[in-house]
């Protein structure tokens, strides 16, 4: 059962969709999020990367700073700046 993921920046929604796995780097280190993860709020490192495994292939987004918020509804990446580098 995939989870809903949204990568949003203040100026636009960068990417939304379903993913089976998400990997991001917080201040504490790399963290992997699978569907039904416990609610979590983390601070992302500057100049980091968020990798998603989706049904249609992998998506990698360059994310500079921001937060990851995991709730029962899905995962939100709140980034000050983000862009998709591979996949769509």
């Amino acid at each position: 059962m995939p989870m809903r993921v949204a990568i949003v920046s203040p100026e636009a929604e960068i990417w939304t969709g379903e993913a089976d796995r998400l990997v991001a780097r917080t201040l504490e280190g790399e963290i992997g999020v699978l569907p039904r993860h416990a609610p979590m709020l983390g601070v992302l490192v500057n100049d980091g990367e968020v990798r998603l495994k989706t049904g249609g292939g992998d998506v990698v987004a360059k994310v500079d700073g921001g937060f990851i918020s995991v709730t029962a509804e899905g995962v939100s990446i709140l980034a000050e700046q983000a862009e998709i580098t591979t996949g769509a």
Partner: protein, 295 residues
């Protein structure tokens, strides 16, 4: 008289060319409203999400963060006024400035000194002309503002708020809310110390119990400035939409006025032309009579 007629024709030409300009500006402003509104819509997911996260964090932690704590004896307040860079937008900037002045008066009556932070050349010009000191000004981005612009102003304000020596105790924001294309209202809001706003949709669900990475304090430390910047960015976007709407309305009024003027001058020119012809005829008749009686 022929001279009179020429003067009217010249006026009509001049009004017509001015009207072309105002009509073009009206159309440009109208298209900018739509763009500005779509920018407001694009910024909403982030703003909503950050508000949701912040209320969730605030509801389950008892952390006293400097950005949310009321100072015991506030004596200094910063007022950030959002105005436009360019004129010809009707009462847009002056409404914002009037609201700002009311706020400054109110703060003064509460024995708080108001420090001015100004966005937009119009506001800067207004205060410079009156010789009022400006703490900092930010210009050149009233249309369209970017997040980086909001961040620059936001960081300066947060720094001023949190610094050890001579800090401000409150930060207020004056901007123009975009109600719809006909109505824009200048509003004053306090952004710091922060009062957490409830999200627009009613939340029946209990906010999730978050785990924090690294810790609640660190997350809040990083989150609150972003929240302030996001609020500021939203205000800038709304102001930009309001500015375009105000300009469109002002330019529409100018175009309509030009129509009215052209109509009046055309009538005057016509009657001047008739007068000239009548006079010419009577001169010819008079001349012919004079010649006939002379023979």
């Amino acid at each position: 008289m022929a001279g009179q007629l020429r003067v009217y024709r010249r006026r009509i030409r001049s009004v017509k060319s001015t009207q072309k300009i105002t009509r073009a500006m009206e159309l440009i402003a109208a298209s900018r409203i739509a763009k500005a509104q779509s920018r407001v819509a694009a910024s909403r997911p982030y703003a909503d999400e950050i508000t949701r996260v912040i209320s969730a964090v605030a509801s389950q932690t008892t952390v006293d963060h400097p950005l949310t704590t009321e100072r015991p004896n506030p004596t200094k307040a910063a007022v950030l006024v959002v105005t436009s860079d360019r004129g010809l937008a009707g009462g847009y900037s002056s409404n914002a400035l009037r609201t700002a002045n009311e706020l400054v008066e109110l703060l003064r009556s509460e024995n708080k000194e108001a420090l001015l932070y100004v966005i937009g050349r119009k506001g800067v010009g207004y205060y410079r002309f009156r010789g009022r000191p400006i703490e900092a000004d930010y210009t050149g981005f009233s249309e369209p503002p970017t997040y980086a612009d909001a961040k620059a102003a936001g960081e300066a304000l947060i720094e001023r708020f949190t610094r050890e020596e001579d800090p401000v105790d409150e930060i207020h924001l004056v901007y123009t809310e975009f109600v719809n294309t006909l109505t824009q209202t200048a509003v004053a809001r306090r952004i710091l110390p922060m009062v957490l706003e409830e999200t627009s949709e009613p939340t029946d669900t209990v906010p999730p119990l978050y785990e924090f990475e690294p810790s609640a304090e660190d997350v809040l430390d990083a989150l609150l400035p972003r929240y302030v910047e996001s609020r500021l960015y939203t205000a800038l976007l709304e102001s930009a939409a309001s500015e375009s709407a105000a300009r469109r309305r002002a330019m529409k009024a100018a175009t309509d006025n030009a129509d009215e003027l052209i109509k009046t001058y055309t009538r005057a020119a016509n009657s001047a032309r008739q007068d000239a012809i009548t006079q010419e005829i009577s001169e010819i008749v008079g001349g012919a009579d004079a010649l006939a009686s002379a023979e």
